[in-house]
């Protein structure tokens, strides 16, 4: 069993046939932006790309500005989509429809492609500080190495096939690893749907055969607990993108009669640590990965991470393979697993014609326990209104980073040395004389 759609199994033979059809459809270029919303079709597109030596592009968002950057980065890129309407400005390749012919058993083994460990499987992107997304290479071997540790650390029995249901998109690094690669590479079955509302999540779990796993986030878990609906027994729940509170973790374990594990990772490194939140606040690193402190920053290296990579969290190393998380570094913005930096957002804001000066700020001081922490912005732009600025920002940055509030001000509260303290921006936003907001 390779996958389920609406509870109906999809077998490996059909998968291979669809991979062959998708490979043919993708044509001669090397780079593929795979935006399939159906997780099974995304997996087919990924496997088709791998089998024909192509590279999947996984940008963190798909605003027109990011697509324009992708075209410069990979001029041959095509966009594989399973939607009828797709407004991405790249040559579109429709996911092949119809029923692909399923090979007989004799040709089955011959059609399983062999992929070298060193093959470049994907480019993932993080937002740099200068307004240009920064690419990070993912090799097939590196991804598999990470996933094999993930499967062990999640306690998945290698002799058992789990049905894996996920509320996260296949294109986000966490979803890419845990909801696509983990099922494909460790003999488990992925679920094509992406349930959203609590009632959808319950229905998707109920349809999935046991043992079943839910790959999700604190936002979905909080909604699930708040909905007061009966939750089907689930053998394992995995959460990532932001740390869970101990209280929510306990409630989830009790109400779902399950174990809840959290994964820690970044787009650059993939997953590197896990913890069972009800047992310990300490994260345990993957065995080959180590952390080192350098001038107040924490860097990960080794194992699938390879070269030293800076982590954008405040980390206290508590043992050889253990650490505690103490929130974000000042510049980092993480909203629902989408990551950016204040510097990047400021750059985008200030590149809008008519904006004379502008700065984003965190709406809460410490990055506390609120379910979602938004960002706000103060803008000096005499000829523009807030709606026009919001519309321009919408073209440039992911909607989760759109400022709330967006305040038009006469000047920014800079200090005599030109610095712009976050606290001063928050105060300005908290006591607006007559704010004009984007709504």
């Amino acid at each position: 069993m390779l996958a389920y759609r609406a509870g109906t199994p999809i077998l490996a033979g059909q998968f291979l046939a669809e991979v062959a059809a998708a490979s043919a459809a993708l044509g001669g270029g090397v780079n593929v932006l795979n935006v399939c919303t159906d997780r099974y079709r995304f997996a087919v597109g990924l496997a088709a790309a791998l089998a024909s030596g192509k590279v999947s592009l996984l940008p963190s968002t798909r605003t027109p500005a990011v697509i324009a950057h992708l075209k410069r980065f990979a001029p041959d890129a095509v966009c594989l989509t399973d939607e009828d309407e797709c407004d991405i400005d790249l040559p579109l390749v429709r996911f092949p429809g119809g029923s692909a012919s399923v090979p007989g058993a004799a040709s089955f083994a011959a059609r399983v492609p062999r992929i070298e460990a060193g093959q470049r499987a994907a480019w993932v992107f993080t937002s740099g500080s200068t307004g240009t997304p920064v690419p990070h290479e993912k090799t097939f071997g590196g991804l598999l190495e990470c996933i094999s540790v993930q499967a062990q650390r999640l306690g998945l029995d290698p002799g058992v096939s789990y049905a894996i249901v996920a509320t996260v998109p296949a294109q986000h690094m966490y979803g890419f690893e845990a909801s696509v690669l983990l099922p494909l590479a460790s003999g488990n079955a992925l679920s094509a749907e992406r349930p959203f509302y609590p009632a959808d999540i319950c229905a998707a779990l109920a349809r999935a055969p046991r043992p079943r796993v839910l790959i999700t986030t604190p936002i979905h878990l909080r909604a699930l607990m708040g909905a007061n609906a009966p939750i089907p027994d689930t053998d394992l729940i995995v959460s990532a993108t932001a740390a869970l509170s101990g209280q929510l973790a306990s409630e989830v374990e009790q109400r779902c009669r399950t174990r809840l594990l959290e994964i820690y990772g970044t787009t650059e490194t993939g997953s590197i640590a896990a913890r069972r939140t009800t047992e310990t606040p300490e994260w345990r690193l993957w065995p080959e990965v180590t952390l080192e402190a350098r001038a107040g920053e924490t860097w990960a290296r080794g194992g699938h991470v390879g070269q030293p990579t800076r982590l954008c969290d405040v980390i206290e190393v508590t043992g050889r393979d253990r650490f505690l998380l103490h929130g974000r570094v000042a510049d980092l913005v993480n909203i629902a697993g989408k990551r950016s930096s204040l510097a990047y957002l400021d750059h985008q804001l200030n590149s809008i014609p008519g904006v004379l000066d502008g700065a984003f700020f965190h709406c809460d001081a410490a990055g506390g326990d609120a379910a979602v922490t938004r960002v706000g912005a103060c803008v000096v732009a005499p000829g523009l209104d807030a709606a026009a600025i919001a519309a321009e920002l919408r073209r440039r940055i992911d909607p989760v980073f759109l400022p709330r509030p967006l305040l038009l001000v006469a000047s920014l509260p800079r200090t005599s040395t030109g610095k712009l303290p976050q606290e001063a921006l928050r105060s300005l936003a908290a006591t607006p004389p007559k704010p004009s907001t984007a709504g």
Partner: protein, 101 residues
């Protein structure tokens, strides 16, 4: 069940929906910490994207409020889902027809 309920409520529907529209505006502004006053949200203004500017995180939050307050469980696989969030009035109509409390 919900169909029977909505037909029974038919005569008072428009008044009920109008009241619910105002009530939902207040609940949404409070739940999402929006800057805009509840009274300024037009009943036909789109909630998503260019309108009120809400995103899927907000929609999940609204679903939570609607479930707690009115006992309505929203489903993405229902064909209504896109229409429900087209505007405050559509959301109010849906809640009015499906509320259990």
């Amino acid at each position: 069940m919900s169909d029977n309920v909505s037909s029974l409520r038919q005569p008072a529907d428009s008044a009920a929906v109008a009241a619910l529209t105002r009530e939902l505006a207040g609940l949404i502004v409070a739940a999402l910490n929006l800057e805009v006053p509840a009274a300024d949200i037009g009943p036909d203004q789109p909630l998503y994207g260019e309108g009120l500017g809400l995103d899927s995180i907000d929609i999940l939050e609204i679903a939570l409020v609607v479930s707690k307050q009115y006992g309505v469980q929203l489903r993405a696989d229902s064909e209504d889902n896109e229409r429900i969030f087209a505007s405050l009035r559509h959301l109010a109509e849906y809640v009015n027809a499906h509320r259990t409390k």
